[in-house]
């Protein structure tokens, strides 16, 4: 019997160990960025770097000699802030009203449709947003711009706004729906209309949740890379108008990493550090909002009584605005999908999909990219899923109140999910790429994205573990089963649909991301990868590469088309599987009758 106790202990240690990997990852990422940044900043000078308004790097600058170039990131800090404010103005307002609409003004099938729309908007790769911006929105808004080129703050704000909208909607909606119904009934009983009850009572009650969702949206906007690079114009100037070219911190890293000199490279890491500091501030604000929740609730009662008295027309207009916001989001999604399908489908050819790569030939094939994407998906899942699931098991099944390790793992997961994808790219380039001999490879890219997947896998696995009733665990333990057996035989099988949807979401993430791959895996379309140490491009990076050149527009459309079809299919599949979990745990009888007894060959 001592053996079984030893096994239990070993199991717990393994789960705790995997959970600790998250903490290690955070420490290592920050350490690497710091190690590369600090000498560079001290070489450039703290003030010259942070408040210098000229960015004119010199490739030949080295640490041992005087600098010829100038490395001031002020314009990009300002650019990032402008883009974030613009995105918040668009996405915050759209998201806020859409959340209100979804929570209180729509029911039944329409609600389901809009929920799916929001999920799909969240799933569309940022290269697709950027590509759509270049090909469809730039010509559309060209007339508004003085120089005929619509790139700049306006377009970045619009597209980033749409991109952060799902984040805002998801969290706002959850907190709106968590407001007790009794508040609503109380307001109606005092003679308020539905609209007044919603805007005067329910929305104020969910204020802290909505604030948190906006902060999360800001975080997303700060870290977004690809769509911004494609739409901002990227001049290192402070934008003075809506249609002037500007550059963000993230864009700076992507644009220059490929050919950076020694000091320049260090300056790019330092740019990443500035980004991380922004993200840290966001996380700090988020913590403040969360801890503020309780005092918020106390105020609510007073507020809704008081607020009812001063009737502004807002509650009348609000319904219409909410409706418009939701429709706008839906239309944008439809526009992207339809546009890309119409422009891309006719150009999908056998040669494009499965042709052979020829050096110097004009015909483009994305077959190597399809293979590389597949290879990346396989390795990153093999790494991230077991680690993430084990960490989630530790967090959910071994929790003891006040356990320090668990608190640390949780904040590590929060931080990991907030780190911008381009910073992962920087980290991967500084570690895995060097580890494998200095050249980018599919393996380096896969390892980089694996760390990125961890928070997603952990969170969604944890959610599904939480939804497994404790009665199952008690039943198993009461039968004399140990904790490990309970976890593997009862808890995990019940949570399986949730884990499968985590797998699907992860695949979607690997397929859609591009920033972390560019300098870990490669950026140029080339020959078929011969192994995991080959340099190659995933589909999303291939689309970025194709859209940068103007020679292969049709192929770019077709690639976008392939990408969007894969991503949409994965998202719909994840949603479908998610619904299965609820059915399984609620145990409706129709499900029971269909299940056939399987003979276990054990």
């Amino acid at each position: 019997m001592n053996r079984s106790r030893a096994k239990e202990k070993a199991g717990k240690a393994v789960f705790a160990g995997t959970a600790a990997i998250c903490i290690i990852a955070v420490v290592v990422i920050f350490a690497f960025i710091l190690i590369r940044s600090i000498p560079t900043i001290s070489k450039i000078g703290f003030f010259d770097f942070l408040f210098g308004s000229t960015w004119a790097p010199d490739r030949n600058d080295v640490f041992t000699e005087a600098l010829a170039g100038q490395y001031g990131v002020l314009t990009m800090i300002v650019g990032t802030l402008f883009a974030t404010v613009g995105a918040l103005a668009v996405g915050g307002i759209l998201g806020y009203f859409t959340a209100v609409y979804l929570a209180f003004f729509c029911k039944g099938k329409i609600k389901k449709v809009f929920n799916t729309v929001v999920n799909l908007l969240a799933g569309i790769p940022s290269v697709i947003y950027g590509f759509f911006g270049i090909k469809a929105l730039m010509p559309l808004f060209g007339w508004m711009s003085p120089n005929g080129n619509a790139s700049g703050l306006f377009l970045v704000s619009l597209v980033l706004g749409i991109m952060i909208m799902p984040t805002v909607v998801a969290l706002s909606k959850t907190s709106l729906e968590a407001v007790p119904r009794s508040y609503y009934e109380g307001a109606l009983a005092l003679g308020a209309t539905h609209e007044q009850a919603v805007f005067k009572t329910m929305v104020p009650a969910a204020k802290s949740g909505i604030t948190a969702s906006l902060i999360l949206g800001i975080g997303r906007a700060l870290g977004e890379t690809m769509a911004v690079v494609m739409l901002a114009g990227n001049a290192t100037e402070i934008p003075t108008g809506l249609f002037q070219s500007f550059r963000t911190l993230t864009a700076n890293i992507v644009l220059e990493m490929g050919y950076a000199g020694e000091v320049q490279m260090g300056a790019l890491f330092a740019t990443g550090l500035v980004l991380l500091i922004f993200i840290a501030i966001i996380n700090f604000l988020m913590g403040l909002v969360r801890s503020d929740k309780n005092s918020d609730k106390a105020k609510i009662k007073k507020e809704w009584l008081g607020a009812l008295k001063n009737k502004i027309n807002f509650s009348k207009v609000g319904k219409v605005v909410s409706w418009i916001a939701a429709i706008f989001g839906g239309l944008f999604l439809v526009a992207i999908i339809v546009y890309i399908l119409i422009m891309g489908l006719p150009h999908i050819s056998w040669n494009l999909l499965f042709g052979e790569f020829e050096l110097g030939s004009d015909s483009v094939t994305i077959f190597p990219s399809i293979v590389a994407t597949f290879m990346t998906v396989v390795v990153s899942l093999i790494i991230a899923i077991p680690l993430g699931v084990a960490a989630a098991i530790f967090l959910n099944e071994y929790t003891k109140k006040g356990n320090k390790l668990i608190t640390m793992v949780r904040s590590a997961v929060d931080i990991l999910s907030g780190v911008p994808s381009i910073v992962y790219g920087l980290f991967g380039a500084a570690t895995f790429v060097l580890l494998f001999g200095g050249s980018s490879s599919i393996l380096a890219g896969s390892l980089t994205i694996s760390i990125m997947l961890l928070p997603t896998v952990i969170r969604s696995t944890e959610e599904s573990l939480k939804s497994v009733p404790d009665a199952f665990r008690e039943g198993s333990l009461a039968l004399g089963a140990g904790k490990l057996r309970t976890i593997f035989k009862v808890v995990l099988p019940s949570a399986m649909p949730g884990i499968i949807s985590a797998v699907i979401l992860s695949i979607g993430r690997v397929v859609s991301e591009s920033a972390p791959f560019m300098y870990t895996m490669g950026t140029s379309l080339g020959a078929m990868p011969t192994g995991y140490l080959s340099s190659s491009t995933t589909l999303a990076v291939a689309l970025y590469a194709l859209s940068r050149e103007n020679f292969h527009t049709n192929e770019a459309y077709a690639t976008a088309c392939v990408l969007i079809i894969i991503v949409l299919a994965l998202n719909l599949l994840a949603e479908f599987v998610g619904k299965k979990l609820q059915k399984k745990l609620s145990g409706d009888s129709s499900n029971g009758i269909r299940t056939k007894h399987k003979r276990k060959a054990r």
């Binding site: 009733p469 009862v490 745990l585 145990g587 499900n591 029971g592 056939k596």
Partner: protein
Amino acid sequence: MEYGQNISVKHADLYYGDFHALKDISLEIPSKLITAFIGPSGCGKSTLLKCFNRMNDLVEGCKITGEFKIGDIDIYQSADVNALRKNVGMVFQKPNPFPMSVYDNIAYGPRTFGIKKRSELDEIVERSLKQAAMWDELKDRLGKSALGLSGGQQQRLCIARSLAINPKILLMDEPTSALDPISTGKIEELCNELKHDMTIVIVTHNMQQATRISDKTGFFLLGDLIEFGDTDQIFSSPKEEQTERYITGRFG
């Protein structure tokens, strides 16, 4: 060492954090009889029941002192909780079949303890279901999900699931409180059958149920064991005034 079929508790105290949930409890539960614990909500009867198979270990901040013996084994001194729970089965208030087939539910316990041969498992499943008087109802539905059964069936399946590992004692925590009268009757009948083989301790809110099926009754109030004795005696001539007031329905 073998587990016996009687339970002996001496000077047991239990705290949930600062809350003193059981106060100096001592009692002897005889083997192969049905013992009922009654008392108003929050009196500690379920808490005591869960001490017998150490399910309270799962509760954070739960502290237990005193002696709990099953047969000759002091269960809080011996380290092997799993073996304890194999010998002391438990049926919960809400039926909790696993989301698996009927067959796999019952085979879960035996498989936990290393039985893998199909023929052996088949035998155990059949015996357990027969013992729980469900074989005829379920023999054609062994492969179907247990979650598709009615509430009463689910609860009896949970009893059968406990029986599959041959417990010496069966703990029942208000097993019929979520069931209709007909299912309740079936479970009470089943208890009367099972007591030929095992000791049963049942927590119940239903005074009639206690009088119908139990041989011994313990009355609890606010963490104290007020009175413990033969069921007939408790219900006909209680020694304590508090007991009398409770069973005649004047409080609780």
